[in-house]
Symmetry: C2
Subunit: 423 residues, 2 copies
Amino acid sequence: MEHTPSRRNPLSLDGARLLAQIRALGEIGADPEGGGRTRIALTDAEKAGRDQVVQWMRELDLEVRIDRIGNVFGILRSAADDGSQAPLMTGSHIDTVTNAGALDGCYGVLAGLAVARAFRQAGVTPNRSIMIGAFTNEEGIRYQPDMMGSLVYAGGLPVQRALDTVGTDGTRLGDELARIGYAGDMEPGAVVPHEYIELHIEQGPVLEAEGTQIGVVENLQGISWQQVTVQGNANHAGTTPTRLRHDAGWVAAAVVAFLRELANASDGTTLATVGCLRVEPGVINVIPRKAVFTVDLRDPDEIRLKRAEARLAEFLAQVAEAEGVTIRTEPLARFEPVSFDAGIIAAIEASAARFGYTHRRMTSGAGHDAQMIARIAPAAMIFVPSRGGISHNPREHTDDDQLVMGAQVLLDVILARLGHTSE
Amino acid sequence: MEHTPSRRNPLSLDGARLLAQIRALGEIGADPEGGGRTRIALTDAEKAGRDQVVQWMRELDLEVRIDRIGNVFGILRSAADDGSQAPLMTGSHIDTVTNAGALDGCYGVLAGLAVARAFRQAGVTPNRSIMIGAFTNEEGIRYQPDMMGSLVYAGGLPVQRALDTVGTDGTRLGDELARIGYAGDMEPGAVVPHEYIELHIEQGPVLEAEGTQIGVVENLQGISWQQVTVQGNANHAGTTPTRLRHDAGWVAAAVVAFLRELANASDGTTLATVGCLRVEPGVINVIPRKAVFTVDLRDPDEIRLKRAEARLAEFLAQVAEAEGVTIRTEPLARFEPVSFDAGIIAAIEASAARFGYTHRRMTSGAGHDAQMIARIAPAAMIFVPSRGGISHNPREHTDDDQLVMGAQVLLDVILARLGHTSE
């Protein structure tokens, strides 16, 4: 699949090679039974993925550096770079969830390599060094928190605490990192990027539903996670009049219904999800005495997110009073919204327009390494459509031509930001 | 605890002996760890309970008969009974759930013995034979269905099929019945009772909440059990706009909310409970793709129960259409309501009034052996209060004086029905 580069671009993106690398990396850790591939951070399968990416970096004659938390970087040096120049950084991650698609994370890393390849094939040295990162443990399946490598890189988590993390399987992250040979010596954050641009699949349905080709990600939602426990009374389903019930299951359902109304009333800015929900004792003819559920609230605006949290707390107090139950909430995670850099956003928009690709500004609903690196450098993201919005699933899919379009935009934006093309 | 009998009663109920037998039977199968007692049908613990009850029957010189499904009967013969007279039957069951209270079932059986004792102690022979039954496997913990012994006795389930039932522990009911020595030779239903009166704790909160002493049970709710499966789409909680969601968990919550409204709109006749509810995949940031829950609908009126089922079906169709999910329902159990006998109901009311006990007509929300025997004979039930409505739990409790009051009413009603007292 060859795509004609924009006339104003001196460099050409090799779409076929990018697609081939996505497929090849997707074979590593393949699970013929469960479907897709499973390359959970710092497992043998993920080590194999890392080895493959590092080999591809070396084939492009990039300088490979690995930091203490295992983030892998391939650097394409500018002529002027004596090692002190702040590079333009791009990338993502190559660890996966269980039975993952081939695109989440990998697409951004391999598109970064495709950008470097375009420079190499044209024999052009970039005006500013380009640093392609594959961050450790973005998925957070085995070790918490997720987005760990970029969080440590941005100074949000001390590296020693990250290394001491104990996984769901009882292993220590630092030991596993050393075991697979990726405990580097570079200090995380030692090279502060000049700016950061991440290309990613949307992992949501918006672009596909609208038939839009490129998402220009201008911000990333704030996230509020909490667990709610409702304690009512277990009574006999046949003998307890409705007015005498303290039905923890009904209260949970009322909260779910309230959250939907709250989301609907927000004009689409607030999202609310109850993903986990269980009732006890879970017997057909016993009124639930206890309900435990999670609430995932998101909004790109911190004030609105706080308002949603406050309204939920208010509703919980009201319903507890009205139903004679007690309700306890436990915060699980809280991230403020991230606003991306206006200049990079404008450059992405301009680039999509140059190619004639339909595009729209949008909010990232999922967390990404970009939100961590945004703490230390101007950042933004480019999205391509995800079929059906499906991700973290073997059925994750983006059409090949859309993958190539996204990488073209990434290359074009980088050329523009580095002054290789005139606006 | 001695209670003065009604002046018009020639017989006296020995309340202290009744309470002592309830306590003694409650010791059999006691579980010091989980609390209460566990005498699940046809286990060694339940055999010990049966042996105790049979011993007490023999002490009262009752004729003990055991039928092929293991129902145990103690018969106090009238002078005129040559074996062909239809007896007045009373009783209940002595099997329990796990970690049960001491009253559920046992109270009715032992109160029946107290009635026989009153005759014996007064040296009076009843005008009609009195048959006190302890029915097999009312609770249905190990072998399904529940109320099995009375169901078989009433001809609702062939005895051979009941004997061939395989339990949750893989045992065959007939084998266990033989093992504990209670496979009798009497054909179930061979003696059709003239009428049946069952004394039971309410297992609900109504009498206690109202401060009423005696419940005159005029009917027993119809029960409709179904399992509902909602199939939606699992999508990312952060990237999927509310309008594009197919949230199986939200649909389940909407059904729970609908059922509450349906119950509220019925003026208390329809009860609706969702006792089991689980969502899949059950991940905090994933919109549930699947929800499975049970619906327990009850109403003492068959037409209203059918209307509730129809309205639920209508709502499920509407919400499936509106949310783009598929909904499947599976019937689990269905019992039509049972109306008890107007004559016996009036006699119970008259008796409570004679004693000056506060009383009310009411519906039984739980299933009882009386509903099965009502298929073959006029029947009714007497309830006494249950503290907090709690049952199937070691905390099940009824005050001693309330237990004695209930037994006094049972004795008085039987005397009235048998013509020993003038109305």
